[in-house]
């Protein structure tokens, strides 16, 4: 869960349950074939983002230059429509009632740094970059890491 901690730190979020990134433990199969894997997820910056469509005030928008889905909090009225529209549970409502969510560490990325969660991920499961690069390089590496971690778990169950 290093990614969550890095995200909390980067965004000055209090550790009160409100996070931009969530890690879910997935249990699959039954003994002796059981395995556990972890899934780290935040805003997916959807291609056709439902939160952008349903936002009544035009506060949520998709950036032309890089596809990041960002929010202009000055325009947000706190209606929570995005929370209902997002299938991933990304929108959060901290004190003040305006929506906040993963913004892809837009300031770090602008200065050629990785997003905070990507930087700290010890297994390189998290990556970032253009889709086609991810598909060929980083995703491959990440998949191997995930597969290795899964096989370690199922191996230990078998013993």
């Amino acid at each position: 869960m290093a990614c969550i901690v890095a995200c909390l730190d980067e965004n000055d979020l209090l550790d009160d349950g409100l996070t931009f990134r969530h890690v879910t433990r997935l249990e699959k199969g039954r003994y002796p074939e059981a395995n556990i894997s972890f899934f780290s997820i935040s805003c997916l910056h959807c291609g056709d983002a439902p939160c952008v469509m349903v936002c009544p005030s035009g506060a949520i928008y998709k950036r032309d230059e890089d596809g990041i889905v960002d929010i202009n909090q000055d325009l947000c009225v706190g209606c929570h429509s995005c929370a209902l529209a997002c299938p991933f549970g990304a929108p959060q409502f901290p004190e003040g009632g305006k929506m906040a969510k993963c913004h892809f560490c837009v300031n770090r990325v602008k200065h050629n740094m990785e997003p905070a969660c990507v930087r700290v991920c010890p297994t390189n499961a998290l990556g970032f970059g253009p889709m086609k690069d991810l598909a060929t390089q980083k995703a491959e590496k990440a998949s191997i890491s995930i597969l290795e971690s899964i096989s370690v778990h199922s191996g230990s169950v078998k013993e």
Binding site: P50, M53, V54, V77, G78, C86, P87
Partner: protein, 419 residues
């Protein structure tokens, strides 16, 4: 071949998204927009925020006034369509002008309903809240009225009660039903809300049947069956809306409560589309065509219509009833069918707000069909996905206690909904 001429009737979220979609795929033809209003598209969802002093008035028009010029739209404002002739592909405006089209979108929306009760319609002290004009009128009234009656404990009604109370106006909130939010809240959730709202100085009265209204000079006297009459400076009616489609002939276009549309937003008439609150498309939950009057739904429908009218085939499968709204510091959410019937219906909830949030899950044959939530939103979108996918919760239902935490529900959802 000459590019087709598009005509958009109405000027709300559906209309704007239709225009945006058509231009985004390079539609070269003329786009005409006809509206009974003047000025840019207004979002009625935002008027409560303006009335509560949270946003300036111009922010109730989220697309701005340059949208039409930017998208090369010819606007015919302030004159509603009074007749639509699908054979000759022509509309007639109130002021007499006629316009032809190759493809037409009906996106006229809906208007608030006033009950057919003597004296109500003509009273200057009775109003509804929907349009920009209504919003301005109410804004001015807020500084002069001392007492108000809100007729209809709907989401709009409760929100209005909150705004009025904050302006130190004495509020009586009434409904003909025996609970608040009769459509959107399960009775158990309704009773929690009633207690909460009554605690905020709202005089809440349920099971009230209005029988008549009489004007005084400065107030209106409302008569209820078996009750003392109520005299009030202002009566706000919020009992629902009705599709604006008086200008179409039912023999030309198939209608029910709204205009019936398919998954490309096509009506039964050639080259006529409909989108937004005037239309009646698929409810994913029931499989039937129903009016689902939501801003987001209107925008999706409008966009779909715009693409198809510009020749790009796109479908929109539909949506399901859903609401989220905040009032009196509480966030209320409703998803799907909150009143399921049948022998295999099971309702699970944590019964009260004592833990800070409330969640009610309604199941039919092990499938989640409806949700009510108070002060809990984190699982809302994923619960909606679970309803749409008809995920089977059976193996979790047997172990459920009546203590559902967001975290527990989140963990089950993670297993039910492989990403």
């Amino acid at each position: 071949m000459k590019p087709s001429k598009l005509l958009i009737i109405g000027n709300g979220g559906a209309a704007v998204h239709a225009i945006e979609a058509a231009r985004s795929v390079g539609h070269p033809g003329e786009i005409h927009l006809v509206s009974n209003t003047v000025g840019p598209a207004f979002n009625p969802m935002l008027s409560p925020y303006y009335l509560a002093g949270q946003i300036p008035y111009d922010r109730c028009f989220p697309f701005g006034k340059n949208f039409y010029e930017d998208h090369e739209v010819k606007c015919h404002s302030g004159s509603p369509v009074v007749a639509l002739d699908p054979i000759n592909k022509e509309v007639r405006l109130e002021k007499g002008k006629k316009l032809t089209y190759d493809r037409c979108l009906i996106a006229t929306g809906a208007s608030p309903v006033l009950p057919e009760i003597q004296g109500l319609k003509d009273s200057p002290h009775v109003m509804t809240l929907r349009t920009a004009e209504d919003t301005i009128r109410l804004h001015h009234l807020l500084s002069s009225v001392k007492t108000a009656v809100v007729l209809g404990a709907s989401l709009v009604g409760i929100k209005m009660a909150e705004i009025l109370i904050k302006r130190d106006i004495r509020v009586t909130l009434l409904d003909i039903a025996d609970q608040v939010l009769p459509d959107a809240a399960h009775p158990e959730c309704g009773s929690i809300l009633e207690e909460y709202i009554a605690d905020k100085n709202v005089d809440l009265r349920l099971s009230q049947t209005l029988e008549g209204a009489e004007d005084d000079e400065k107030s209106v006297r409302l008569h209820f069956r078996g009750e003392q009459p109520l005299t009030t400076d202002l009566c706000l009616v919020s009992i629902g809306v009705r599709s604006d489609m008086d200008f179409i002939n039912n023999s030309d276009i198939e209608t029910d409560k709204g205009i019936l549309i398919d998954d490309k937003m096509r009506t039964s008439a050639d080259d006529i589309y409909a989108a937004g609150d005037v239309s009646q498309g698929i409810n994913l939950l029931s499989g039937k065509k129903e009016i689902i009057g939501l801003w987001g739904n209107a925008c999706y429908q409008g966009r779909t219509a715009g693409f198809n009218m510009a020749g790009r085939e796109v479908t929109y499968p539909g949506t399901m009833p859903q609401h989220i709204s905040s009032f009196f510091g509480l966030t209320f959410a409703r998803l799907g069918d909150i009143h399921p019937h049948g022998e295999q219906v099971r309702v699970i909830s944590n019964r009260d707000l004592s833990e800070g949030s409330y969640c009610l899950l309604a199941y039919d044959r092990g499938r989640l069909v409806g949700v009510n939530m108070l002060n809990s939103y984190k699982n809302a979108g994923r619960l909606k996905t679970a309803i749409i996918r008809k995920a089977d919760w059976s193996k979790y239902l047997s172990s459920f206690q009546n203590t559902l935490t967001d975290q527990e529900i989140g963990m089950i959802l993670a297993t039910l909904l492989p990403q």
